[in-house]
Amino acid sequence: MKQTEDPTQDLAGLTGRHRLVGLAAQFDAARGTELGTALIVSPFGVSADNMFLPAFTLASNGFRVVRFDPRNHVGRSEGDMYDFRISTTAEDVAAVLDAVRPDLVVGFSLAAPAVLRALAGRSDRIPAIMAAGVVNMRHTLKAVLETDFFDVRPSDHVSVLGEDVHGLNFIDDCRSFGAVEFADTVADGARISGPLTYVAGTEDPWVSYAEVEEFARVRTAGPTTVLPLPVGTHQFNLNPTIALSYTKAVLAECLRVVGSDEEGTIPPLHEAITARKRLAQSEAAGQVAR
């Protein structure tokens, strides 16, 4: 993987895999006239590699796309999922924002609190689009784990969506970081002046749609848009029907925030399958920078 550690370096022409502020990152070139740069922040337990579908869709519609793996996460950056922390993810998002200076950032699920914190206090008003963005850590963790680990002391090994995480350290980090209650999200939202959009499933069992609406209602620091989707599960990465619902809404919102009049086109699934195969084959043949 090529090294790209200097945040002042011009990243405009990069494609493929590169090191970026110490993290494994991927750069996808825009197809056609470039509308802007979109930074994708993966959900918990999903690597940047597996954010191929939204990245391919955005790139096909004129966005240059940057995605990366945070530390202590699945993917190609350093560290182990066992040591996953929301605080270090927020630090990584902030560092990548500084290096890339994107036109917009798209955060999925548990990335949302990290993205909010990374944007808080910034003056560049980067628009953020949250897909199934978590707005209440306690509620989401309880829904996923069926236990409120902010009340019940977790063990050293908690299986979170099949990933072994040091439960106590993670919970302690959420507390010290300030990402526990809905009020914490409200507090972060109050420190962001740029526009925020939440693409939210109306029946999402892990993120309360009512709380997303409430967040939009109480936030006055900047514009907040809520785009409801008739989706009743949170596992978008395993199901293309759900992935496409979110991707369509995210694409439309990305186009809107960069001022494009285009409606956007979702590439056929078999085009995406073919493109990923080609990428895998070319990487296997060593044609892509590693």
């Binding site: 990933e163 596992q235 395993l238 293309p240 056929p268």
Partner: protein, 377 residues
Amino acid sequence: MAAMADTELSPALRADVGELDVLLASSNISTMTAAQADEVRLRHIRAAVAWHIERNEGYRRFCAGRGFSADQLRRTEDLGRVPLLPAALFKRGAAVVASVPADTAVLDTTSSGTQGTVSVVPRDDLTLNRFFATLGIGTYEVLDQQRSELKVFNLGPLEAGHLWIAYVMSGVALFTDGQCYVEDDAFLLEALVRDLAAADGTPVLVVGPPPLVLDAAAACRAAGVVLHPESLLLTIGGWKRASGRMLPRDEFVGAVLEGFGLPDDTSVRDTFNMVELNTVLFECAQHRLHLPPWLHAETKDPRTLEPLAHGQNGVLAFLDATPTSYPGFVLSDDFGTVERVSDCACGRSGDVLRLDRRINRLEGRGCALKLDQRTNR
């Protein structure tokens, strides 16, 4: 379900085709009660029948000739009246079965078959998306694989063309982390064993046709590679050209468990699909193929094609609500039974498919044949 007056349809039966995508984006789909599933199934199949009657001239004439319309589907029992396309019809080309698709991105997917008897199924993008949704739902709910980053070891080719089983296996790679281990018609067994050894400590999902899974198990045993106890082995397709090596299922499962060092037979699951079917069925932990609430299956008397009761062996017929670019109402080439199960230990209830055997034909059928021809040693 109670019968309704002939002139009235419950609002619950007035499903729009798009509502199916809402269902496919829901949670706990596979654990509906049998009664709930019956109602949901009827609504969506009724909507699908109406869609194809409107958008498929051949099917419209076929239905009209039988005096059938979608309005006649008022009770679950009525589903046996839906006119079926014989699987052999798909061998006459995509145009023979095609409906006006939901979108323009139509891919002609094919079975194998010899003697020029390839089945061709036109799949538009919506149909393909729904197919992979059934795969995702089955993986998440029935296999209980909830890892966001599922590590899949795919005993199929990355470059699949349009051959359905291979396409399915390569398409899985879009949604999962993993590798394909068939390349240029060769099974990359050494690479597979090396990579499985490297995955030590992580649950993995190994997917492939039974002969290749068996070869992999033997190679892992020889190399001393033991999989994480939460790993799953998923068989897709049959033995085909390797029928001389075919083992009874329990012997196969035993050999695979021993080879991979896995604890019990819940780690080895079978699947069912055929190129004309747009849904994948996954065995639950009790090794039952539960029908999801968008798919109806029943058996037909092989001589009269009249519907048979639950538990009676006959020719399997499927009504799949998910395809939009062809009618998913298919009389298969398979014998089997559909049983009503009220208390499966996996927590599910409702109809369960049991596949017995293929109708004897001169030509071979099934995508696994061609995949196997490429790789069977």
